[in-house]
């Protein structure tokens, strides 16, 4: 009997019932075939899967991140097709539209500014006062929204946080347009925390911890903006 037949017998695949019975009988009655099969089994067992290769941590992190991104995209796309009227979402929509209008106005106003006063812009790279006031308002509003954020109910929390993320991106872009790269960077740094807070499977205590962290960061930012504004007004 050849090794190929014994190999298929070992794998229990590729032989008919009749052929399997013939191999069975041969192994039980012929010591040479039994020894041949035994040797084959030993060699095949030595070919078993070795320990898995160590995977670099950056690779594992990439896989974790890909799931987070996919989950986030799902959440965003689930929100978009919703057309049903809801007073709460209407209020949020109105607030968002107002913020968008303010953001666009600020962007349009300051993008036109260099045409009329290029020398002033070149000399003073600090964000304009109107923009700073807009950002302060946004940060204060966000701080309040976070204070009343329902941490226990994932769906509501996710909706609210996703809207905060949209506003945050808007202000981040406006900050870039207003030559305030450091402010844009700070706003950008809020996003990963907000994304984690928006995750649907986060434990309420973790959500609470993230909310506290954000509230703290927002306070720090508000204090810094107030101090910078005060310094600027004193120096002018």
């Amino acid at each position: 009997m050849n090794d190929d037949t014994l190999l298929l017998y070992y794998y229990n695949d590729g032989l008919s019932t009749r052929e399997r019975r013939q191999v069975d009988a041969a192994i039980n009655t012929d010591p040479d075939i039994a020894a041949q099969y035994e040797a084959l089994c030993q060699q095949l067992n030595a070919m078993d899967d070795p320990e898995p290769h160590a995977v670099p941590s950056h690779m594992v992190q990439r896989w974790h991140d890909s799931i987070d991104r996919a989950a986030q995209q799902d959440l965003v796309s689930q929100r978009q097709p919703s057309r049903s009227f809801n007073l709460f979402s209407f209020a949020w929509g109105a607030a968002f539209a107002a913020t968008l209008a303010i953001g666009i106005s600020i962007g349009v106003y300051f993008s036109a500014a260099p045409l009329t006063a290029p020398t002033v812009i070149a000399e003073n790279l600090a964000p304009p006062a109107a923009f700073t006031r807009g950002v302060s308002m946004y940060l204060r509003d966000t701080h309040q929204e976070l204070a009343t954020l329902p941490v226990a109910t994932a769906a509501e929390r996710t909706t609210l946080v996703l809207q905060i993320i949209e506003q945050n991106r808007l202000f981040e872009r406006a900050a870039e347009q207003n030559n305030s790269q450091s402010l844009a960077r700070v706003l950008r740094a809020f996003e990963p925390i907000l994304l984690r807070l928006a995750a649907d499977d986060i434990a309420p205590e973790d959500a609470e911890a993230l909310r506290a962290q954000l509230a703290f960061e927002l306070n720090v930012m508000l204090t810094k903006i107030a101090r910078d504004s005060s310094n600027n007004s004193q120096s002018t």
Binding site: H53, V60, D68, Q78, D200
Partner: protein, 178 residues
């Protein structure tokens, strides 16, 4: 959202993270044995995770998530291998001799480690893939044939040749270590 996922038995984001932490080394190793290329193996796992996430509502909650992803990763690795080397699974009419160590096989050997993984580098593409799927992944011959577009006879022949070569190679490797 969490409630919806639980009611349909679909795995959650946290389930995926747990599976990645526990089993991604095994998925990667399996994909590496098939592709013999770290980048392709990494991409295969990445593709598998995204595919599993998108199809998570089809997941049978009585099964194990990591096993399900493992299977999808193998399929992704085969797909990537087919894409990068279109003739990888062409049946061979005659026995291909082992041409010894090529620069490619030496590099792959260094990446894969010794023993079985090292010996696998001396097989042709179809021999290696058929052997890995049969011996390590326990696929049925017909499943392998369906996956690589070959008949069962071709798959059997590839496995016979693979085992013959591996027995010789591994006996040699064991001899070297003594």
């Amino acid at each position: 959202m969490a409630a919806i996922l639980q009611s349909t038995g679909a795995p959650t984001q946290a389930d995926f993270h747990a599976a990645i932490s526990d089993r991604s080394d095994r998925w990667f190793s399996a994909c590496l044995k098939i592709t013999r290329n770290r980048d392709l193996a990494e991409d295969a796992v990445q593709d598998a995770l995204l595919s599993a996430w998108n199809k998570r509502h089809q997941f049978d909650s009585s099964a194990r998530l990591d096993t399900w992803i493992h299977r999808i990763a193998i399929n992704a690795a085969l797909q990537l291998l087919r894409k990068t080397r279109p003739n990888a699974f062409e049946p061979l009419d005659s026995e291909i001799a082992d041409h010894g160590d090529t620069p490619e096989s030496v590099q792959a050997e260094q990446e894969l480690g010794r023993d079985l993984s090292a010996a696998l580098t001396h097989l042709t593409e179809i021999e290696r893939v058929c052997f890995v799927l049969k011996h390590l992944e326990q696929w049925r011959l017909k499943e392998i044939g369906d996956e690589i577009g070959a008949n069962v006879g071709t798959v059997k022949q590839a496995i016979f040749r693979a085992v013959r070569k591996l027995r010789v190679r591994m006996a040699g490797l064991q001899g070297e270590t003594i």
